[in-house]
C-alpha cells in the first residue's frame, strides 16, 4: 500500500479544484471580447475596391462573387481626360463556404478588405449566410485598429517599434 499517498493526493487535486471558482463564462449573459486580430468576419470598404478580382481569384474555396462595370468618371483636374473607373455591382462573400483563411484580405492591393472580430452572425438558413455588398460594408464599423506591435518588431518607415 505504499502507493496510497498517490491515490490520496489525486483526491486532493479534485477537492482543491472544487473550491476554486469555475472558469466557465456563461455565454449569453457574459461575453468574452475576442482579440483585435481575431478572424470573425470580413468587412468591405467599397470606395477602395477597383474590381481587380484578385481576392476572388485567390480564395481557396472560391466563395467570393464579384461583378462590376466600367464607367467614365470626371477628370481629376480641369481640362483633363475622363478616367475609366471600375465600380462594383455585386460583391458577395458566401460565409457557408468561407474558410476564414484571410488570403483575400492579405492579397487585396487597395486595402478594401478588413478583418473584424465580430462572430455573432449565425442564421437559421444557409442562404442567409451569403453577405452582400451592403452587409459587408456595415461590418466596417466593427473593424478595430491594428494592435501595436511587440518590442523588437520592425515597423515600416519608422525603424524599430
Amino acid at each position: 500500500m505504499a502507493q496510497l499517498p498517490g491515490l490520496i493526493k489525486g483526491l486532493g487535486v479534485t477537492f482543491r479544484t472544487m473550491l476554486k471558482p469555475a472558469v466557465t463564462i456563461p455565454y449569453p449573459h457574459y461575453k468574452e471580447t475576442p482579440a483585435p486580430r481575431a478572424r470573425g468576419v470580413i468587412a468591405l470598404k467599397e470606395e477602395n475596391c477597383t474590381v481587380c478580382m484578385l481576392c476572388a481569384r485567390s480564395c481557396p474555396d472560391w466563395c467570393i462573387y464579384i461583378e462590376g462595370h466600367k464607367t467614365k468618371a470626371p477628370p481629376r483636374r480641369a481640362g483633363g481626360k475622363p478616367r475609366t473607373v471600375s465600380l462594383l455591382d455585386r460583391f458577395d462573400i458566401d460565409y457557408s463556404l468561407c474558410m476564414y483563411c484571410g488570403i483575400c484580405v492579405e492579397v487585396c492591393p487597395f486595402d478594401a478588405l478588413f478583418w473584424s472580430p465580430e462572430y455573432e452572425y449565425s442564421e437559421p438558413r444557409i442562404a442567409e449566410l451569403l453577405h452582400d455588398k451592403d452587409r459587408l460594408g456595415q461590418w466596417m464599423e466593427t473593424v478595430p485598429e491594428p494592435p501595436a506591435l511587440e518590442a523588437g518588431a520592425e515597423v515600416k518607415g519608422r525603424g524599430k517599434a
Binding site: 489525486g10 483526491l11 477537492f15 479544484t17 472544487m18 469555475a22
Partner: protein
C-alpha cells in the same frame, strides 16, 4: 405512525406507497442535482447546468421529460417479459433497502431485529435484475456485460458483509436502531458526551465498506461493466426511455441507501449529542436532518472517488476483492472479536 390516523386501510397503504416512491425518487433527484450536476461540475472547473431554472434546478425536470418522451424500443428477439421486469427487480431491491434505515427513534419503515442482515440481503437482489437485463436483451455483448457485472457484484458482496460484521460484533445486535443506540450510549475514553461512532474503532471496516459499496454501485474505479460500453455493450444498452430512467434512478437511490447504511453503521446514524435515543419530539424532528447531513458526507466521499480515479480492469478488480479486501476484512473481524472479549 400512519396507522394512528383514522383512515381506511387502503388509504393508509396508498399513502405508504406514495411516501416510499417519493422518498426513493426524491433522494435520487437530490443526488443527481447536488452531486452529478453541481459537485462534479465544480470539480471539473465548470458550472454545470445553469439555464433551466435558478442554478439549473429545473434541469432535472427537463432530463426526466427527455427520458419519458423517448421511443420505447424492445429488441425483436428479446424476451419481452424478462426485459420489462429487469428494471423493476432492480428498483424493488432498492426500495427494500430503504425499509430498515432508521431516520429517528420512531421513523423507520420496519424496525427489524435482523436489520443489517436484511439490508445486505436485499441489496444483493439487484444482481438478479442485472442478469435478467443482460439475458433478455438478446445481445451477445449485453449478456457478457451482465455476467461481468454480476461477477463483480457478487465478489464485492463478501467484503461488504465482513466489514459490517465487525460493527455487529462491537454493537452486539443486528438491528439498525440497536446499532445507533449502541453508538449513542458508547464512550470514548470515558467521555460519554459524543457517544462512540464506530468509525473510530472500525476505521479499517469503514474503509472496506466504502470501497465495497463503490464496487456494489458499479462506480469508478469499479465501473468496467458499465463503461464496457466503450468496447462491448453493457447490460443496459438495449434500454431506452423510461426503462433506462428506472435503472438510473435506482442506481442513484441505491447510492443514497448505501450512504445511509454507512452513516448508520459507522457514523452514528440519526443520533447527535443531546438527542434522546428512546423517543421524544426533538429526536424525531432533528434526527432525519442529522442523518441526511451524514448521508451527504458519506455520499460525497463516494462521488469524490468516482470523479477522480480511472477504472480498474475486470481481472484487477476481482484480484483486489479476493486477494486484498477479503483477507483484510477477515483480519478486522478477528481483531474486533478478540478486543471485544478482552476489553
Amino acid at each position: 405512525m400512519i396507522a394512528a390516523l383514522d383512515i381506511p386501510y387502503w388509504a393508509q397503504t396508498a399513502i405508504k406507497v406514495a411516501v416510499a416512491l417519493g422518498l426513493v425518487s426524491g433522494s435520487a433527484f437530490i443526488f443527481a442535482y447536488v452531486f452529478l450536476y453541481k459537485i462534479m461540475s465544480h470539480m471539473q472547473s465548470r458550472l454545470g447546468p445553469m439555464e433551466a431554472g435558478p442554478h439549473g434546478i429545473l434541469q432535472l425536470l427537463a432530463d426526466g421529460v427527455k427520458f419519458l418522451q423517448k421511443e420505447d424500443l424492445v429488441p425483436e428477439r428479446a424476451d419481452r417479459f424478462v426485459f420489462a421486469a429487469a428494471p423493476v427487480v432492480v428498483m424493488i431491491s432498492t426500495v427494500l433497502l430503504y425499509v430498515v434505515i432508521p431516520a429517528s427513534p420512531t421513523l423507520v419503515g420496519a424496525d427489524l431485529g435482523a436489520g443489517v442482515f436484511y439490508a445486505l440481503a436485499a441489496s444483493s437482489l439487484s444482481v438478479i435484475g442485472i442478469l435478467m437485463a443482460g439475458w433478455a436483451s438478446a445481445n451477445k455483448y449485453s449478456l457478457i456485460g451482465g455476467l461481468r457485472a454480476a461477477g463483480q457484484l457478487i465478489a464485492y458482496e463478501l467484503p461488504l458483509l465482513l466489514a459490517v460484521v465487525g460493527v455487529v460484533i462491537q454493537a452486539g445486535t443486528l438491528s439498525l436502531s440497536g446499532i445507533v443506540a449502541a453508538q449513542a450510549d458508547g464512550e470514548i475514553f470515558g467521555l460519554g458526551a459524543f457517544g462512540q461512532p464506530f468509525v473510530l474503532t472500525q476505521l479499517v471496516g469503514f474503509a472496506i465498506f466504502l470501497v465495497a459499496s463503490q464496487a456494489e454501485l458499479t462506480q469508478a474505479p469499479f465501473d468496467m461493466p458499465i463503461a464496457e460500453s466503450e468496447l462491448v455493450a453493457g447490460y443496459m444498452t438495449e434500454y431506452s426511455g423510461f426503462r433506462f430512467l428506472v435503472f438510473y434512478i435506482s442506481e442513484l437511490a441505491t447510492t443514497f441507501a448505501f450512504a445511509a447504511l454507512g452513516a448508520t453503521l459507522f457514523l452514528g446514524g440519526w443520533w447527535f449529542p443531546g438527542l434522546d435515543t428512546s423517543g421524544g419530539l426533538l429526536s424525531n424532528l432533528v434526527g432525519p436532518a442529522v442523518l441526511f447531513a451524514k448521508i451527504m458526507v458519506v455520499a460525497f466521499v463516494i462521488f469524490w472517488v468516482r470523479f477522480s480515479y480511472p477504472r480498474l480492469r475486470e481481472d484487477q478488480l476481482q484480484t483486489f476483492a479476493w486477494k486484498v479486501l477479503i483477507p483484510l476484512s477477515l483480519a478486522n473481524i478477528m481483531v474486533t472479536a478478540v478486543l471485544k472479549v478482552a476489553l
